[in-house]
Subunit: 244 residues, 6 copies
Amino acid sequence: MNTTPFARSGGRALDQLRPIRITRHYTMHAEGAVLIEFGNTRVLCTASVEEKVPPHKRGSGEGWVTAEYGMLPRSTHTRSDREAARGKQSGRTQEIQRLIGRSLRAVFDLKALGERTIQIDCDVIQADGGTRTAAITGAWVAAQDAVNTLLAAGKISASPLTGAVAAVSVGIVQGQPLLDLEYVEDVACDTDMNVVMTGTGHYVEVQGTAEGAAFSRQEMDQLLALAEKGIAELVALQRQSLRN
Amino acid sequence: MNTTPFARSGGRALDQLRPIRITRHYTMHAEGAVLIEFGNTRVLCTASVEEKVPPHKRGSGEGWVTAEYGMLPRSTHTRSDREAARGKQSGRTQEIQRLIGRSLRAVFDLKALGERTIQIDCDVIQADGGTRTAAITGAWVAAQDAVNTLLAAGKISASPLTGAVAAVSVGIVQGQPLLDLEYVEDVACDTDMNVVMTGTGHYVEVQGTAEGAAFSRQEMDQLLALAEKGIAELVALQRQSLRN
Amino acid sequence: MNTTPFARSGGRALDQLRPIRITRHYTMHAEGAVLIEFGNTRVLCTASVEEKVPPHKRGSGEGWVTAEYGMLPRSTHTRSDREAARGKQSGRTQEIQRLIGRSLRAVFDLKALGERTIQIDCDVIQADGGTRTAAITGAWVAAQDAVNTLLAAGKISASPLTGAVAAVSVGIVQGQPLLDLEYVEDVACDTDMNVVMTGTGHYVEVQGTAEGAAFSRQEMDQLLALAEKGIAELVALQRQSLRN
Amino acid sequence: MNTTPFARSGGRALDQLRPIRITRHYTMHAEGAVLIEFGNTRVLCTASVEEKVPPHKRGSGEGWVTAEYGMLPRSTHTRSDREAARGKQSGRTQEIQRLIGRSLRAVFDLKALGERTIQIDCDVIQADGGTRTAAITGAWVAAQDAVNTLLAAGKISASPLTGAVAAVSVGIVQGQPLLDLEYVEDVACDTDMNVVMTGTGHYVEVQGTAEGAAFSRQEMDQLLALAEKGIAELVALQRQSLRN
Amino acid sequence: MNTTPFARSGGRALDQLRPIRITRHYTMHAEGAVLIEFGNTRVLCTASVEEKVPPHKRGSGEGWVTAEYGMLPRSTHTRSDREAARGKQSGRTQEIQRLIGRSLRAVFDLKALGERTIQIDCDVIQADGGTRTAAITGAWVAAQDAVNTLLAAGKISASPLTGAVAAVSVGIVQGQPLLDLEYVEDVACDTDMNVVMTGTGHYVEVQGTAEGAAFSRQEMDQLLALAEKGIAELVALQRQSLRN
Amino acid sequence: MNTTPFARSGGRALDQLRPIRITRHYTMHAEGAVLIEFGNTRVLCTASVEEKVPPHKRGSGEGWVTAEYGMLPRSTHTRSDREAARGKQSGRTQEIQRLIGRSLRAVFDLKALGERTIQIDCDVIQADGGTRTAAITGAWVAAQDAVNTLLAAGKISASPLTGAVAAVSVGIVQGQPLLDLEYVEDVACDTDMNVVMTGTGHYVEVQGTAEGAAFSRQEMDQLLALAEKGIAELVALQRQSLRN
């Protein structure tokens, strides 16, 4: 699959991730604070521990993990309206933050967390495609750091994290399946799929959308294979960043 | 797959759709007005033709297809707050209406539609699981009726519809892959997947979510096969309802 | 009053109601669920029992009855904006739902209801004039069904309903007083009056508005007489539907 | 009707208005600016001329008359929330401002007004019952002053006002029909009716509500007679204030 | 400084306040209700005692003092939108009400107030410049009246007020420092400064803004001197009004 | 003033700024993109050029400069609610963004800018006191970069910037005047003043607030002197960063 007439920026191979950088402790207040970069896409992911739970969990003995997502107004090529000024979050924002929350909860034992909340905030500093997948991948590292603070403080005795979770986008551009789309590829693609998987290679979320022509089963299989490869690499990078 | 210890209501087989009913011309004002029933789930889908387009399409010569979704407050087991009274649509509502809109646009040639909008409204009268898949399946029939009014009125000379689109949910309950989940199954399932396909068997959307344990590639393959079977049957029922 | 040059659709007499149909148990979840039809006007009225009361009734030993009203976007001739999408209910919607709530409370002994709420939802499926009067008339039947569930469950020992309540519109079109206006008559009328009365012929609400010229005392008397006749018929139909 | 055991404050007769005061030019910026007092109820009514019309009147050659209503937070016995701070107007506020607008339009020839708007603002400085009827009565005087400015400026050549309009509340307290209820009477009443009439004694609006027991036709007739008497007196006071 | 070519309306000297009038007990419900007039600027300031505190003070043994501000729509030369109808308060409104609240709290011993709130409402009846400074000056008198009710009722035994507070605007117009700007001066000024001081001549707030050219230290000193003179006069008038 | 018992973190002198860092081109999309750091306070300031103006400037031949401000939810010690999720900006946010906009406009010749907008966005990545003064100081550098793009593109022929603008906070803590307060000092201070000055040492804004005791004229003079010193240093740093 690596030799092809389709040219990606920087000579990137079709099945190659962009350069990934994970910077922990990027800000000083949050229990977990990770700047994750997928090429030019930069997302600040913080994990805040709050000693309370939303109403549907009160008295349950279980905790909660939830997420919010935002883009700085000029993180994008042309400035987007500030959602706080408009007075509401867009449908896209809500979809993404619900996805991040579900993805993280998939690897959390809420009972082991105890009656507290880990609040994830993913804020896009600079956007160049793949902000939601970078957000999920970075949020997991931030959550791990937050869990470590709880362990260090003796508030919990065992980690509520049951494994890793990471995400990547895949898509078909000019008939070619590509891993980890940057913005110009995302705009050009016929099919766009975001895949969230655990460290053990199981699916947490698969969201595939035909932007242009509908896609065949064979194309789906190619995309799922690419995503599996990319996520395995991302999980390795997550683990490595935690060892630093 | 039909002989199994898992018992569905009404003796339904694991790969069997609920009884589907499609009633056209259910209300009198809309160009397309379809009541679709997937068992006890009942959704009213109207398609309204509006001779204007949203700003991003003005002057483009192209039309637009968009959708809104709502649930009557007591369509559900316990009453839900009325979104109009709360003053905003939930994230779930926005996700679903965006999905319906994308699904319909996948089979529309917007240039052939001309500079006008087909506005889909999907309102859940009674909910018992699968409201979004019923909505997409019914909306396509309503859109076809609206297109027929445009053709009959001579406003367009050829149909902008490039094919059919339908949707179904699949999921894994107690290890068993099931087609077309009703509410009690939806609550119990580990994995929930909504699949939208064209009449020619290509994917428009695949949205799979692990509610409990993450799912394997093999499980995904089983679910996709079930969905393909169900959607083929739904498209046949759509076409049959249009012949009446 | 029955022989006149003014022609109503379907040869209806000036003092004649449209065909009224009351369908109980129209949906399956609500304690009371009534589809009421005044000719082409169709309103789904549900009554939901909630074991809580709003703040101003907490600890009072009394219950509460309240109502919300909505129109499906394409229940009308041209599509209306969805109030949930606009983010607020119109003044008209609020006026109508306050009227429905007051009308129902007029025949409720809130002490006998106990500290619980009957929440009425009136949703217009198809509009052809008189949606608020149909809503009140249908809501009373739904409330009666909800009360019956409470009695059957032994939660209350005597009915909190002190009688029936129904409503009808009357108006003056081209100098002719008419009973139960349909949409084209409503648009054409000079005076429009909505009357809500009990089963014993007393007034709960009278709301008369001069749309064109102000109206005389004599015209008011004619309208009140027409309304009294119509409401007596509606109450008979309500009681009959409850015997089925 | 004047000799009765029921005692009103200040020895007021049952069919007697409170002391009415109408102060024109109460503030300096508005084209019409009237402080109207019904006893302790004080409402500031301004009429502003705006050389534009709302969208539904653009290009029609017709003008528009509309109204907004508000209560200062501490105009009431206990402080009410400020609607601007809560971010929305209550249903009651919307009902009242719609009523004021309709009442004024009933005596306006919108064609003669020309394509401009008269915007009425009624703000309650002090509330003691009857704020909406005082508002309508005062707003008409303010509108007359605004019309006079237009005439004086030569913007219109004939008055678009076709007559006077005024309003009063009536009600039944302890079986006694009363004219012009003050707050303590309003709280105690079984039936509350707001009547809006023209200077020639025709009805513009009748809104009667049974707060406690439903009311009979005979009671309605008594209330309508009381209202007619009160409104005739109010119209005389309006005309007198304009002569000053 | 009194002889100058710059002419103020009514022959006012550059360092002269407009005629100030303070009318206590202007409305009947509020514990303090003061109409304050700075020339044509008229603001109704009410102080309401509420036997509760906001969440951040609950259980603290301390009270709270807070303020809201509004302008009647036609208090201004051309009508402003009603904030309640627009659904939100402007940034200017919020700035002003926060300023009023802070200014009043500067002279309150919240512990001596006890766990209750004094809610200030400042509503502009007529605007001609300086509404926020009139509001602060009037609000202090209203607050004093509210405190007196608490003392008279024996709810507190000593006044929580530690002194007086008043405010005035100063500015530079055509190079001339002016005291207490009216609207036409405010529009023309290069520098606009609002100063809030205690009765003992200390600063509570200084807010200076260069509308045109930035201002020098020397100009600031001139403005501060003018403000000090004006506030001393205002405090004398406040004290005098309380003796009446 | 440098020898004193009061100890600042890191041995900082009372009249010493925190370490200031100005990083230009921090993100890639905006015409100006500056990360400014005042010690641990980090604010991203972007300047976006938009070829349109708000309604009040259309057709005027003049441009506009405006600003928005936000804090990332976990930029603070404990997490703050996301304003986009709450659906409105706080009064504090609005105050600050209005201040930033006014400060920048003070050094802009809007006619020379031409009919276009420079939209400033200041987003706090990490907060440790002084976010608004850092925002103004950084925004000016970003605006200069945006102006340079316009000059380079030949859209304007001369710079609309008439000079530099910078801001700093000063305050009194335990009787000691301090320059550039960090968070713990801000919380402890009796008086807090934000000063905005031009590069030529004139005042654009002075906002002083007594948090505890009111402050004397002598204290104000000390604070103004400190601010003048700090701003001169900041302007030198701004100019130096532009030379890099």
